[in-house]
Amino acid sequence: MSDTIDNNIDEFEMPDPRLSANGDLEEGERLIVDIVGFEGPLDVLLALSRTQKVDLKQISILELVKQYLEFVNQARELRLELAADYLVMAAWLAYLKSRLLLPEEENEDDISAEELAARLTYQLQRLGAIRERAAILMSRNQMGRDMFARGAPESVIITRHHTYELSIYELLKCYAEHKTREAVADIRFHKRNVYTLDQAIKRLSDMIGYALDWTSLEQFLPEGLDDENLVKSTKASMFTATLELAKMGKAELTQKQTFGPLFIRGRNQEEENG
């Protein structure tokens, strides 16, 4: 079978070809510092661990740390630009290395160096395991490459007949709402024919001087009004005007019975007279 490299399970089992291409060279120089080919520090670590040619469970973390730091140093000597990730990992591994070499201090808060090493191993194993599965997955027969579905599917032709549900209520409601909106949009303000309060106060003030006795409010209303709206407006304004004049102390009001006529007389005059 002409398998592509993706299907080659061995790729993940063998030492990484990116590292071992210059197999003749010394251990330290054997690294091909081609970081472009690697996908981050974990990828490099996994590739390096493969060169130990042992089961991932038995890899020597110290050895791995040494290899990685060499890798990074060499890259720096060659003035290759290393992403920050690589340097962070290098710093962390250097820290781990020192912890592993020094006698462990009695400190319950700290995680032991062995535990940290075990976690790194776990991560490498996990990545290794998923890569194996990825290779196995891609080596499976694939639809459209190894096996095929019906090339000319006969689709089910569905003829849909739509019936529409709408009640007369919904229809009318909708139209009414439309009309409501339209009405709102069409509001026009007509100039209303009114008798203003200022007009009323002036008229009442002028006339009250002559009303020394109680006089019905009706008597003060202007005559000859035929617009009913204007009559209403005039009454309202004249009533308000009497209240206003009473407040100013220019008039006195009295009403003998509920809903009965309202009587007014001027006050200033009386005081002057009295």
């Binding site: 095929f148 529409y164 009318l172």
Partner: protein
Amino acid sequence: MDNQEQLRICEALLFASDRPLSSIALAEQLVEGSDVGAILSELQDKYSASGVNLVEVAGKWMFQTASDLAFLLRKEEEKERKLSRAAVETLAIIAYHQPVTRAEIEEIRGVGLSKGTLDVLLEATWVRPVGRRRTPGRPMTYGTSEEFLVHFGLNSVKDLPGVAELKATGFLDNVNTSRLNLLDDVKPNEEQPDLPMDDDESSSEEQVIS
């Protein structure tokens, strides 16, 4: 490879192909000297009683659903659908203002009318083209159909309640009574009667509908 293997390959090729295959094209995929004709006729026998048959069309071969089962591939579906709000409003405007052109509907609604909205109403057979306006461009006018009246149980469009009646039945609750006069503009367009449509126009419209 034995003959049976060649048959299996033929079978797979015909199954996976997106077009009918000639016996020559098939032969190219088989070991030299295979009797394609014999293989095809054996395959045809194998499938003759199945739900799928191997048929020869225009000198080429393909699998096809057995003709007595063709009904499986054709389904009629009755589906109840709900009209969009725009469609209901458009229908109402056509009902009250008919005959009315598309431009007039848009003006009344104050928004553009998407093609689909009118199509849905035409498909529902509630709305139909009724003529052409005697104005520049002779635009098509729309009105309601007999199906519309039947669906809503109306004898004629004159049975639709007027605006005052809508108010009386509470449909126009939110509208101030004093403005009702502003609403009372529902009167049919008193213009010259629209032109009747020619027969061919009418049929072309139906094509749009379908």
